[in-house]
Amino acid sequence: MATQTASPSDFIKNLGRMYGTYTGGFLAFIILLAILEQVGVPNKILGYLFVFFTLAVYAVIGVMTRTAEVSEYYVAGRRVPAFYNGMATGADWMSAASFVGMAGSLFLLGYDGLAWVLGWTGGFVLVSILIGPYLRKFGAYTVPDFLSFRYGGNFARFLGVIVLVCCSFTYVTAQIYGTGLIASRFLGMQFELAVFAGLVGILLCAMLGGMRAVTWTQIAQYIVLIVAYLVPIIILSTQHYGIPIPELTYGRAIAEIGAREGQLVKDGLAILCNKEACPPGTLRPHIQPFMNYTPLNFFGIIFCMMVGTASLPHILMRYFTTPSVKEARDSVAWSLLFIFLLYFSAPAYAAFSKLEVYTNIIGRDLNAIRPWLFNWGELGLIQICGKNAANLQAVLDACKAIAGHPGVLRFQDFVINTDVIVLSTPEIAGLPYVISGLVAAGGLAAALSTADGLLLAIANALSHDVYYKMIQPLRMQRQWTVIGIMAAIVVGAIIWFAAVPGPLGVQWRWWSILGLLALVAVVYPMMRTANEVERRLIMARALLLLVAVCSAALASTRPSDILAMVGWAFSLAMAGNFPALTLGIWWKRATTTGAICGILAGWGICLFYLVVSRYFPQMGVTYFGMTSLLNPETGKALINVAQIMADPKWVADVPASAANPMANRVGWFDLNNINCGLLGMPLGFLVIYVVSMFTKAPSMEMQAFIDEIRKPRGQTVLKENI
């Protein structure tokens, strides 16, 4: 395997020119496709060109930046300049949900949706002032590396790995699902096939070059995604208000929305959510706060997302790659700037779409509604009068079936999937298909880049922390025992979970085991002849492949539960990592026992609250004193717990199905379960404090190490022997 032939400093010096050329090439490519469209090339081919061209570019970067060095593989050789690391972090951070879903949430929730915008930006402040630069000085490859060093050994490391895998695996599955969704929607590919096409894209980027390859592809992906996000909305703003800065002009759109809302209510076309009654389907004014979340939950979301940001391993590890501590700090600032560009535009998408819906769809005669929505209605993403709005006739028929329908579209007749907001904007603005293709490429870039980062975080924890630091130091015989036990667990899990029919009449579980055997047959002989460096890299790649295939297999089953769990990752990361990381740096007195108890207690209570309120609400009500959450506007209980508990239909529903009316709707203190970090983090801090005070202070040697972490000057504390 060859590394970059030019000297490293040349490579860094040329970055500006390289990515400048790349951006120019990308814009030229868009223009070329626009010309092709005018000439009459069909949309489908344009879509394929877009997706395959961008995927090919990422793959080429991924293959070109392959490496045979451990430090290149884990931390990109620690020479990524602050500005570029900022871009890479931006792409790492902004997921399919940010790109496609965020504007839609803002559309539905109005002001309350801004909790997500605030929560997903403000956390970088905590990264920079509390954690990131200190971990960089420490010189870790992974977050569990730090926990293990600071809290004396492999038990803390093991807990760190468990927390990391728990919060990252659901997250990466959602990203791979996102790639499948976007590719299948725009290219008309079969969903399962699209998922595996995405998987190939991810592996090509990450497998050969690890962190180094992921860094340079993420930068390329950031450029695609930000161009794709901003172009449609800039054009729309120029059309409506003559100023190409949507972030300034959507203020007027908001004012117009307010006027339209008043008009709709006055005309009897919408019912206003009010203090007496606020059921679903009532209108909640766009700028009025606390109609969807109570103030506690609104601020809870902001807090959990912010602290969660500062605890998510795939974000923290990006700051291990900068050349210095100072650059790590600069890099956090650049990251937030690049993220800000997208997040402060998302409310503009929401406002323009809402204005379009409130003026050209709702309140219109059914015959006069705008035709762009039929494309989405066909896919079941827009429903009118309870039926998919596939075409005008379907809409007319559906509404005619409702007794006393006035023939004018009412607010409560219209249901839109949140993904449509960003994806449909080019059509609302009447733009050519090439812009829609651009948006699809941007969404794919967002999903792929986040998936790359997450996969690397998981696979690195498994290969570096579990294999290299925990298993390899064991004696040969014990190594085999541990590997044997792990293999048994994996095979058992496959046989248990993958009992679904597969190709050639053989169940998928047998195909999976065949695949696993093949992987072992390839890897084992390589391991035997390899030296230590090669072994670490072979293991890292094999595990990356394994994790990626597992999450793609899971994603292809469209697991609705997993997708809903992504928000949980933040609370889990926050409860498990934040107290131990911050106190490890800022409080010398924090002891090993204290930290281990704190992680177990904080993370445990968070997980307990999530699982019980989602899957065992009956148990939560009976044994743990949980009660119904409250409606934010009326302050009354959301559900009648006593009545549901007596209903034979739900009594035996254990674990609760998504249809169970109590799932996610019971809890303590009216706290949504996504905010369980609010319970776990304070408990974690408290336990670490109390237990530490009762145990012997860390050794002078450890305290000296902590002093070392606090000073940017000098060598990293942890020295890798390779």
């Binding site: 002001y111 801004l114 915008v117 605030l118 930006t121 403000g122 970088f124 402040v125 905590l126 920079s128 002032i129 509390l130 630069p133 972030e247 300034l248 203020g251 007027r252 908001i254 004012a255 700028i287 706060p289 103030p295 609104f298 601020f299 902001i302 807090f303 912010m306 210095s324 501590v325 100072k326 700090r329 600069d330 956090v332 600032a333 937030l336 700037l337 800000f340 997040y343 402060f344 409310p347 800022w586 002093d707 606090r710 000073k711 940017p712 000057r713």
Partner: protein
């Protein structure tokens, strides 16, 4: 090199960490104010409309205002912390 300065290094170390902690608390305070406190007053703030642009102020703060503060704050923090590190001789060599 560190050995030469053992006499004053503990004092220097403490002074450096003292300043670092103060800077951290200042920025946490600003973060808390713009992340939470401002938004507690969204209802009265929404009565004020930003001239020309037409945003209600409470909405604007959550959609853009606080975000801009966070970005600016991070660039300032990086600079200030670097200054502290330099003053105490703990900055990395360029």
């Amino acid at each position: 090199m560190a050995n030469e300065k053992i006499a004053d290094s503990t004092a220097n170390e403490e002074a450096h960490w003292d300043k670092t902690t103060k800077l951290m608390l200042t920025h946490l305070g600003i973060w808390f104010f713009f992340g939470y406190v401002v938004h507690m007053f969204v209802v009265p703030l929404n009565k004020i409309v930003i001239p020309i642009l037409g945003f209600p102020l409470g909405f604007y703060m959550a959609a853009q205002g606080s975000l801009i503060v966070f970005v600016v704050m991070l660039f300032m923090f990086a600079k200030q912390q670097d200054r502290i590190d330099r003053e105490h001789g703990y900055a990395e060599e360029d």
